[in-house]
């Protein structure tokens, strides 16, 4: 069987996680890695045994052998790179958020349709086991109709970002757009469409940033359910990344967090305990496999551009609400960032 050939653009945080998953897929060859900084591209090429590395992404989108482009670059570059890749006929897997502007999202979606390429936004929660099991429980009606949900995601400041782009509001949109988008997307997936958003937050701790580092939002869904979503980048430096989800319906309730459900806890001299739930076919493996299969078997991948755009609209409404200090109804009438 001929292998699917892929190129990954961006050699940063998420790209490393994706590469680890790409390398576990037997029917795939990662042919090239691209980064604007040669050293970074070279480092990942060596680390993952990738034959080619470039600083110019046009090199890979013009390579006729490549089937899939995995765009793992900072959010503010998503539109241009994905659109260029699609115009070269490449199938595109794009890291979340789809974009920072709704018109960019629209252009990406339109291009993917026009070019007839496969396109998926990597909202990885839809592949994480606790979230897929939750989805199944809810869909099977085991807790009745969803009425109230609570989700939070807490992290120290992500100071690893390339040239600190996450600190720049105009490049990342801040914690709600970059991180809480996971929970918002998941809640949309299981509850339905959001009608109104109220959010409160600010640049509370990270004084050299323009990105909001703490936000909480109250969501009202069209079906009458409500949800609390909280995102924090103001945790202490040694704080373990923490997620929590609670859903209550007319027939029951469920809750899950990532610390009390760990299967492995490691304690080392002089450092905090780290816990994890290792699974060989993990969320990233399943996500990338799903996209590869959509190309090989020719089906529509599960997280369409439109889905990602709807999620983006909710988080942007949150940012708008926070800036104006009033509830914001959907749909949005204009852009919020930039």
């Amino acid at each position: 069987m001929e292998k699917i050939k892929t190129a990954v653009i961006g050699a940063g945080f998420i790209s490393r996680i994706h590469l680890d998953a790409w390398k576990r897929l037997p029917n795939v060859e990662v042919k090239a890695i691209v980064d604007v900084e040669e050293e970074r591209a070279k480092k990942y090429a060596e680390m993952f045994g990738i034959p080619e590395f470039f600083t110019d992404y046009t090199k890979v989108i013009e390579d006729p052998e490549i089937d899939i482009i995995d765009v793992c670059t900072p959010t503010y570059t998503h539109a241009k790179i994905s659109i260029d890749a699609m115009k070269s006929g490449k199938n595109v897997l794009l890291e979340k958020p789809i974009a920072l502007k709704l018109r960019d999202a629209d252009e990406i979606i339109n291009t993917s349709k026009k070019q007839g390429v496969k396109f998926m936004v990597a909202h990885c929660l839809r592949f994480w086991p606790e979230y897929t099991v939750t989805k199944k429980i809810v869909d099977q009606g085991e807790i009745g109709e969803v009425r109230v949900a609570r989700a939070y995601r807490l992290s120290p400041y992500p100071d690893w970002s390339w040239k600190s782009w996450l600190k720049d509001f105009s490049k990342s949109g801040g914690v709600f757009v970059d991180m809480s988008i996971h929970d918002v997307d998941f809640l949309r997936w299981i509850i339905g469409e959001v009608e109104e958003v109220y959010a409160r937050g600010g640049v509370l701790k990270t004084k050299d940033a323009t990105s909001y580092d703490y936000v909480h939002a109250l969501l009202k869904f069209k079906n009458g359910a409500i949800a609390y979503v909280e995102g924090s980048w103001i945790q202490p430096k040694n704080f373990p990344f923490t997620t929590y989800l609670e859903i209550v319906g007319t027939g029951g309730a469920l809750k899950v967090d990532n610390h009390t459900t760990s299967s492995v806890i490691v304690y080392k001299e002089g450092s905090c305990a780290t816990d994890s739930n290792p699974i060989s076919e993990d969320a990233y493996y399943l996500e990338i496999k799903h996209f590869v299969d959509s190309v090989v078997k020719d089906y529509e991948p599960m997280i369409s551009g439109l889905e990602a755009r709807k999620t983006l609209e909710v988080v942007l409404a949150g940012v708008k609400s926070m800036m104006e200090n009033k509830p914001v109804r959907l749909p949005l009438s204009g852009e919020v960032i930039g």
Binding site: V148, Y198, L204, H216, N223, G224, A225, Y228, G252, N325
Partner: protein, 331 residues
């Protein structure tokens, strides 16, 4: 040693039973008389706590000279006349939260306590839980720097009884479950709330005429951000009645309080998992401290005014949920 002689005005609120238990346990307290407007409940409480002097008219109980203090644990809406009369009769009092369902009533209660010079403590038991008071010290010592955000939940099962009858309760889960953590936020920040936004969702229990879901976002005058998840969202088979949970985000750290988490997993054949609590006895701490306040002529840790302020936050949340707008305080 002189004992503080207590009367309990109504066993309508479930907390009354625990307070009676504590008074019976304490060496320097005595449960002298009880009142209830429900004859069967009065009889039941009298038998359970071995109280001989029972009343179906609270004025008669309050007229007695040998009672120092009362605990008012009637339905929320019945507190004001009982509290005002208690003050007029010179009785120190603990009033169950929310102290009233209306701000005007709350103000009159506070005024009456001042005028007749009696101690007025709001039953904000959470200020007396050893987890929250330990954290108060940590915060005052600036162990996590300055407070930036306080996220809280007070989830519970639907308590039943009169809690779903708006004429008696003043509302649903929001009035029942906002004040505890709102009060803790006020206590920790030493600040007052400036604005509130709240949403109420579709009910979990369709048969209720009051809300059973609610989410509140608030801001304090000096900028601290807060949230309250105040739903009756726990199914009847949940292993414990509910929770009081707070996460405090500081400039130099983060603290989580899960006050009712110390539990033993207990599973009986054919029954759902049950959590047997072994944590701090906040009710006991609260009544012990009330006795100290009376003996030392001190100020309660949670005063009637604190009760009034927390009520105002709750009422602002209702106003916001109804109008769909951010509500500024004072109302």
């Amino acid at each position: 040693m002189r004992k503080i002689r207590f009367g309990i005005i109504s066993f309508a609120h479930i907390h009354a039973w625990s307070y009676a238990r504590v008074i019976k346990e304490l060496e320097n307290a005595e449960l002298v008389a009880i009142y209830d407007d429900d004859p069967q409940r009065l009889k039941q409480a009298a038998e359970k706590y071995g109280v001989k002097d029972v009343y179906n008219n609270y004025e008669d109980l309050l007229k007695r000279d040998d009672i120092d203090a009362v605990i008012i644990t009637s339905e929320n809406a019945k507190h004001p006349p009982q509290a005002i009369s208690s003050a007029e009769h010179g009785k120190h009092m603990i009033v169950e939260k929310p102290i009233a369902v209306d701000l005007k009533d709350a103000d009159e209660m506070v005024r009456a306590a001042n005028r007749y010079n009696v101690k007025f403590q709001t039953a904000f038991v959470m200020r007396y839980h050893d987890a929250t008071s330990t954290v108060k010290k940590l915060l005052d010592n600036k162990e996590i720097g300055e407070i930036l955000v306080v996220t809280t939940t007070n989830h519970g099962k639907y308590p039943g009884l009169w809690f779903g009858v708006p004429e008696l309760s003043g509302g649903g889960s929001m009035i029942d479950h906002t004040v505890h953590t709102a009060d803790l936020m006020r206590w920790y920040t030493g600040d007052e709330v400036e604005e509130v936004y709240a949403v109420i969702g579709k009910n979990i229990r369709k048969e209720l005429s009051v809300e059973d879901t609610g989410l509140i976002s608030l801001k304090f005058k000096r900028g601290v951000i807060g949230s309250i998840d105040c739903s009756w969202s726990r199914p009847s088979t949940w292993p414990i009645w509910g929770d009081v949970w707070l996460a405090i985000f500081g400039t130099e750290g983060y603290i989580v309080i899960d006050a009712f988490r110390p539990n033993i997993d207990l599973v009986k054949e054919g029954k759902p998992l049950r959590w047997e609590y072994f944590g701090s006895d906040a009710d006991r701490n609260m009544i012990k401290d009330f006795i100290r306040v009376i003996e030392e002529d001190a100020t309660p840790r949670a005063t009637g005014w604190d009760g009034r302020q927390a009520l105002e936050i709750t009422l602002a949340a209702y106003r916001s949920a109804k109008s769909g707008e951010v509500v500024k305080l004072p109302l």
